[in-house]
Each structure stands twice: as structure tokens, then as C-alpha cells.
Symmetry: C2
Subunit: 427 residues, 2 copies
Amino acid sequence: MQTYADMTKEQLQEELTKVRQIYKEYQDKGLKLDMSRGKPSSGQLDLGMGLLNAVDAESLMQAENGLDTRNYGGLDGIPEAKRLMAGIMEVRPEQVIVCGNSSLNTMYDMVARGMLLGYLGQTPWCKLDKVKFLCPVPGYDRHFAVTEHFGVEMINVPMTEEGPDMDMVEKLVAEDDAIKGIWCVPKYSNPQGVIYSDETVRRMAALKPAAKDFRIFWDNAYAVHHLYGAEKGKILNILDECEKAGNPDMVFEFCSTSKISFAGGGIAAIAASEANLADIKKSLTIQTIGFDKVNQLRHVRFFKDADGIAKHMEKHAEFLRPRFELVLETLESQLSGLGAGSWIKPMGGYFITYETNEGCAKRVVALAKEAGVVLTPAGAPFPYGKDPKDSVIRIAPSYPTMEDLKAAAEIFCVCVKVATLEKMLEA
Amino acid sequence: MQTYADMTKEQLQEELTKVRQIYKEYQDKGLKLDMSRGKPSSGQLDLGMGLLNAVDAESLMQAENGLDTRNYGGLDGIPEAKRLMAGIMEVRPEQVIVCGNSSLNTMYDMVARGMLLGYLGQTPWCKLDKVKFLCPVPGYDRHFAVTEHFGVEMINVPMTEEGPDMDMVEKLVAEDDAIKGIWCVPKYSNPQGVIYSDETVRRMAALKPAAKDFRIFWDNAYAVHHLYGAEKGKILNILDECEKAGNPDMVFEFCSTSKISFAGGGIAAIAASEANLADIKKSLTIQTIGFDKVNQLRHVRFFKDADGIAKHMEKHAEFLRPRFELVLETLESQLSGLGAGSWIKPMGGYFITYETNEGCAKRVVALAKEAGVVLTPAGAPFPYGKDPKDSVIRIAPSYPTMEDLKAAAEIFCVCVKVATLEKMLEA
């Protein structure tokens, strides 16, 4: 394929006319397709239906410590659920509090605690003039929405193929004690699918922040969400690394079963140091008498243990892999070598990120919309929804049928071509 | 029975010697009994086991609006769950957001929103020098714990047999714009079992608070928890009354199924005005993608509707009524006419409150403990755990077996006698 950059103005114009014609043909089909939603498809959800039979009217409802899961008590979760969630995060059960149905809510609560109560006796952030968070970009829009909601100033840190730019992170946190946190999705990052390298994790754990109450918000959302096996997705254990580096209290790790069992019908968890857990529990015991232990028991009875989870996730992978590959093959065949942008092949997670040439992402999303394909709004993976280069587009292949996905991916490629050519010709 | 007040010092001393002997006999039995916990017994929880079969691996998991309850979405709850929870609170479904597993957590979140974000555009409370809440006493210790946790100053308001002392409430909220809320359990109040009179509800709804962001926290925890039928527990609809009084936004109402289905395994809800709901949703959409809709569906499929709930609650009443009556009969036979305190016969809820003579409650609780009967700590139903008269003791009859409850109630009466006589003799 000839790179656009090598074409003359006339050739580009000719090419644009051609792809516009193809675009128009797609448009005329009046399709309604959606690649915006990072949610499991009903086929994946069907995989988990056995969960609903895992406890029934005949079940013994006692946890292994004798606690009746149907009654009050057990603030930090039943022991077997702690083990299950510890298995997902590869931490020790005693480092875990099992929470409600949403890790996002758990993260929101943790930021709210920082704001209102302060961590480990530090000043609540709402009493300070300025609070800042580092935001590796592109990242997860709902993370950024939480900090924006609470008036936290967000600072972009570029992602590399190894994780956040650690030179920049180290410098910023050492200089500015208003920086209280960093949002991380360390494995199969949302949206790029980046796996933090061992060096990145070690440097993260060894940060020397000016703020004593600086915390790494380690959202291990895709801990077991492999497409090509667990080996490809290995990351270092951040809790261990923080401990080794003399920063045991500097991290909160989060996970949930939302994309393992049911989205919103699962269980979430937080892992942290002994001191942090004690601090959290002091506030948690005011907030609730306890989370839903029946659902905790249900998950343990269904999945049994980390092996059970791994086997279940293989079924998800069988479902998702062809979808990812379909999109990637379409990108490869349609856009490779054109000089119209780039992408990384993710080894897991829920997204593919397409990076257009500068200034093209919004136009691609708009074109796709007019051709019946809904994409995540351009800019969404950035704080305040502002992509400084207007180039990142998040593609979510999980939800559509294979047929729809094929059409959507093809239309996407045409939109990229149109937008890229338009941009080059306008220069 | 001769009133203690009519006895001579010698007679009192003689009586004390006698009851101390009885107390000692109980003590020697080495019993281990517990009347402290306001939680359902396993017999009650067994009533709800059918809930676990209400959705299973064969079920259709779509809500009536087509939403797949296993997937993300549906921030404010599935329509049929809104109807179910509206039925419990006797409000309209469109006034309801169905929440997670805990109404306490929902209340905590609402106070946290007041602190961090402010209601309907008002200044967040964390930016103010002083925030105060009115606390009808005795009341629910976990309410007071939430406001204490956030550094809110709590002001005691005495309860009458019709609800909080409304003269005092009206005066205080009109004078002081630092007063931002009042905790209410309007039906079968925790711990006294008081039912707010129509006049109380109307005056509450017609308050003219100095603070624009003053809110009534209307914890309708025992909305359907009748011992002698629904008729005995009628209260006016606070949302309607607030609307009529021109204060539509002044109230948040809460409820849950924790003592209907499973404690902690149920669903909670908040009801409020249109403006408040919109305000809450603006923040809720940042906090979570949605609550557990599978559990919402499970509850709807099991209970069907308000009638189904009412029938189920009759079974709970059959279970609880003999327990309440056993305690009340014991109080009646052992303490009536003695001048050693008083109590109200509750028509529903989870507690009986015994009011000792001034300065005796702590001593009764300590004596009971030494005789093997755990009671809720004296003072617990008051802000900061301080009962100014040291006279209120909360009795929870739901959890023990009838046999244990009988022994515990008898020991309780002996402890009351000992403490009362000691106090009179020391004067």
C-alpha cells in the first residue's frame, strides 16, 4: 500500500474522492452499529448463568467462619471471598476487603475518604487549597470523572508502551505536595492494552512523593482478562514492591468480578497495607454494616478459587479473541502502511486504541456516527475530555455480533482514511 | 406490688438483699445470653430462602424495560424494583432510586454529598465553619455515628410519644442556619417504637429552616415491620406533606429490605423530589455505573409487589410478636408499679426501650453483663454515646430463642431492681 505521505496533492485528492464514494455507500446502508461500549455481550454473560444456581433455597448459608451470610456482620467480607479476590489480584487474603458490586464505587469512596477524612491522620483534602492527581493518558474516563467531580486538578502524563512516563511521574510527585494520587490500570490498560513493565512497577513503588498522603490508585480491572493466556499479562505485585521500597502504605489496589461474572452483579475488592486497611475499616464501619455476603458466597461457590476463575476467563477469551482479531485484521488490511495512524495489539482487556494523525480523531468519530457507527467520543480517554492532539479513539469490540463488528470495523477504516486525507489536503 | 418510693430505707435495704440473692442465683448459672442485637434470627431468615430460587440459571434476566440485568446500565434501578420499593415507602415509583444493599450506606452517601458537593448548588458543608444536625433522642446509634464521623455537631431533641419535640425543632431550625439536617425514624422509631403523629409529620414538613439546604433524613426503616397489622402503623407521606407545605426538596426518605429479605443481602432505596433526584443522579453517575440489578430482579420476582411484601411481613410478625410479648409480659409482671422505670409497648419495629430511673441505665447494663446477659451499651441511642439522664436501655428481642429470651428478660428485671434500689439507698 502506498503511504499517503508519498502521494502528490492530486493523488491525495483522487484518493479522497474514492474513499468518499465508499463512505457514501456505507452511509446509504443506514446501519446502526456500536463499538463504544466496554461491556460484555450477552453471550459472555450466559457463561456465568450457573452463578445463579450456586446458592439456592436448599443451600447452607454459613460462611466457613460460621457467619450466616444472610445476616448482618462481616464488615470486610467472608474469608473465602477474601481468598477468591486475593487470588485475582495475586495478593494475600489478609490484604483484602471485599466490597460491594462496583470497584468504581470503591474507588470513588476512597477518593471521597481522602477528601473528607484524610488518610492515616493526614489533613482531609477538602481543607487544602489545591489537590492534584496524575492521569496517565489515554486512560479510563470514569477515573478522571471521579477526580473532576471532586474538583481535583488533573495533570496528563503520557503513556509509553511500558506504562506511564516514569521520569515525569517521579519528577512531579517529588516536587509538588499537592499531588495526592495517580490513576493506573496496570494490566491491559484502558484503553490501550499496555502492560506495565517490571521497571515501571518498581519505579512506581519507589516513588518519593512530597505528599505523605500520596496514593497510587492501582485499578487492576483486567487482572485475569487475558486473550492469550496469563503468561502474556504478568505484572509485578505492586503491594509487595511498595513494601520492599519502604512505601507499604502508598497504594490501593482494586478489582472486581464485573467482567468475570455479571457487570454490576459481581463483587469488588480493595487490597492495601495493614495500616491502610485499619484506616479504611474505621470509616467503613460507619458507612455500612456490611456488603452483600450472599453474593460473596454465591461467587465462591461458583468459581471456587483462582483456578476456577482462570478456567472461566478462558471461556471469555474464546469469545473475545475472534472479535479483537477481526478488528485488528481489518485495521491491518485497510490501514497498515498508509501513514494514517497506529495501534497496539492488546494481549487482554476490553479495548483497542487507534491513534490517528494529529487532529483527526473527532472527525473520524463524527464521520462514523453519520455512517451509523457509534464510537466512544474522541477525547473521552483524557481528563476534561480534552485530547491535546485529537488523535485517540477507543474501540470496544466486545459487545457487537461478529457480523456487526466486521461492518463497523470496515466503516471505521474508511472514516480514518477520509479524515486523514481531508486533514492532509487542508494543510 | 408496692412502689419502691413508698418503702422505708429499711424496707429498701431488705428488698435489695432479697433481689441481690436472686441476682446471685442467676449469676451462678453462668448463662450466655444476648439481647443487644437488632438483627433477624435465623428462623426469620429462613422465611426468605425462596428468594434464592427466584432467579436461576434458566431465568430470563431482562427487566421489563428490556435492560439485561446482568450487564451495565440502569443507574437508578429497574422499573419493577422502583415500583416494589415505592410500595414499601408508599411513594410513587418515579420518586425512587433503587440503591445497593444498605440504606445506611445510602444515608452515609447522602451526608457525604452534603459535605463534599452540597445539595442543589448550595455550598458544600465541608467549606463551612460549623454544621449541625438535630438528633431526636433516644435514636439510632448508627445515624449519630455518621454525623459524628464527619464532624457534624449533634443537638439532642427529646422524643415524645408523638415523635420529636416539634416546638424545639421548629425554633432551632428557624434560628440557626448551621443546622442542616435532622435524623428521623418516623415509624416504630428505633429504639422506642414511637409512631410519628400526623401533626408531627405535618409540622416537620412545614418547617421554615434558616438553611436552604436543610434536609429531613427520613429513615423509614420499619415501614412494613408491623407486629399488629399495618393499620396500627399508619403515618402520613412525608414527600406529599413537604410538597403541600411548599418544601418539596426538604426531605430524603430511605428504606431497605434488610429486615424483609436478608440483612445485608437485600436492596435499599431513596425517595425524593424530582429536583433532588436529578441532583443525586448527577453525582451517582460518577460514583457507579449502577447497583446490583440482578438482586433487584430477584427481589421483584420473589415478592412481586407491595401485597407480596405485606404477606411476607406477616410471617415475620408471627415470629417476632411472641418475643416482644414475652419481654413485655416479663416487664409487666416483674416491674409494673414498682416505680423502677417505664416502657412503651411497640406496635412494630425491632426494639423495646426501657427507661430506668435517672442514673441507673449503665449500672443495669453492667449488672446484666456480669450475669451473662449482653445488652446494648447504655448511652448508645444518644449522640456521642451520652445519655444525659443515664436512663435509656434498648432491648432487642428478635435474635435469641424464646427460652433464652425468657431467661434474659427475667435477669434484666432483677438487674433493674438491684440498680434502682442501690440508687435509692445511696441518695
